[in-house]
Subunit: 225 residues, 2 copies
DNA sequence: GTAGCAGTCGTACTAAGTACGAAACCTGCG
DNA sequence: CGCAGGTTTCGTACTTAGTACGACTGCTAC
């Protein structure tokens, strides 16, 4: 019954010393797998093979943990290169942000409540601004462009997260129940769009992202001084 | 010490019978005042002058409560009139949505996790689609426009909620501490923008909304068949 | 080896969601 | 007027989660 000293871990994954990095990565994993709801100090400790209170040596509380996670997500976004072509760089960065936010969709909901950006977040924003300024955008237009592109990216990610389906063909699976719920033509335009467009083979809502982004970039180009 | 039967409420606001409407309104109030965090079944009951378990006769649980709140927020948005001029109607509706989401900014974070839209939400979306379709937009362009405008509105609201300030002049109050935190020129472009633009008298970040919206509407108009 | 410190954790308190079933209330009917 | 049956309200209590406090452990430098 007594454990020999050489075998350390009885039932938990990855033993050893904790580090802030391991804590954050484990938290990322949990949130990615099961959403923010599954991420508790206790589940986190368990994932790390430790007891809840051990976590508090690496984060001061759950709030700081969430702040750190948001910053970690921003860190994964490919920032634009301030010396490249603005249009291509902003475009690339926006696509990257969208992909990252799709993977960590729980992070979007966090953005609303966190008002103290971390270093990675600040750095990303700085690079976006630098890219625009160096490309000859006026301060005013830079501010416009920045607000516009970011809003679009976040908003798209937000919609994507709240869609009840995933991928090109899964649409039918959840859309049809909704179709029925619409009853006797309460939402005719939605029905029309669903049958004529959304449910057509080959349609993938995810493709909408590029259209809007290009429209925005076109508009900015036209308005550039 | 004994209360006379005629005086009913001892220490709580608004007595009488509960209704689902009163429950939802109280929940709205609490969330508006103190954010989602303050909204608990217990605080809600207390606001209503009732005990926690009484609430469960009007909502099946906290999740359903949150779903209902999101739908209530959508209900407050001014939907476009499908028979009006598409550009003006979409514009008006977008401004309304932005105003509503600013007032209930906690709702934005909820959007990410709720995947079953309520009737008001569906109705709003239906009206947007109808407005575009009746104005001669193709199904394809309608889908594009819908995703684009909604993304922009949600995303703008999301950014607005996470800004650490409010209103035209409050900017300085919170931006300057951040300026210092930037240390020795770690974020030069942000500093440049802050000093040359954001902190200039008369600048109001909220005004950015119109620029982006008009750019988007211009772009859609150009691409209309 | 041992003082000292960083890291780990046991215990326990608090807040919050909510299951269960009883009490209070109201209504229409005899 | 009184009572049966449904409706509403709530008392109690269990569960999960965050985290304060201080003790224990084990490594490192002397």
């Amino acid at each position: 019954m007594t454990e020999s000293p050489s075998s350390s871990a009885p039932a938990a994954p990855t033993r050893k010393r904790l580090t802030r990095e391991r804590v954050l990565n484990a938290a990322l994993d949990i949130a990615d797998r099961g959403g923010l709801q599954r991420l508790t100090i206790r589940s986190l400790a368990s994932e790390l093979g430790a007891r809840p209170m051990s976590v508090y040596h690496y984060v001061s509380g759950k709030d700081e943990l969430l702040d750190a996670l948001v910053d970690a997500v921003f860190d994964a976004i490919d920032s634009p290169d301030p010396d490249g072509d603005w249009r291509e760089e902003i475009r690339r960065s926006a696509h990257s942000a969208r992909a990252v936010l799709r993977k960590h969709s729980w992070a979007i909901g966090l953005l609303e409540s966190r008002t103290s950006p971390g270093p990675a977040t600040l750095r990303h924003h700085d690079r976006v601004l630098a890219c625009l300024l160096r490309s000859g955008f006026s301060a005013e237009l830079t501010a416009h462009a920045y607000a516009l592109v970011d809003s679009y990216v976040y908003g798209f990610a937000l919609q994507e997260a709240s869609l009840p389906f995933e991928g090109p063909d899964a649409v039918g699976g959840v859309a049809e129940p909704i179709l029925e719920r619409m009853g006797a033509g309460e939402y005719p335009a939605m029905v029309e769009m669903a049958t004529n467009h959304y449910l057509q083979p080959g349609y993938d809502w995810a493709d909408e992202f590029g259209f809007g982004l290009d429209l925005i970039l076109d508009g900015l180009e036209q308005r550039r001084g």
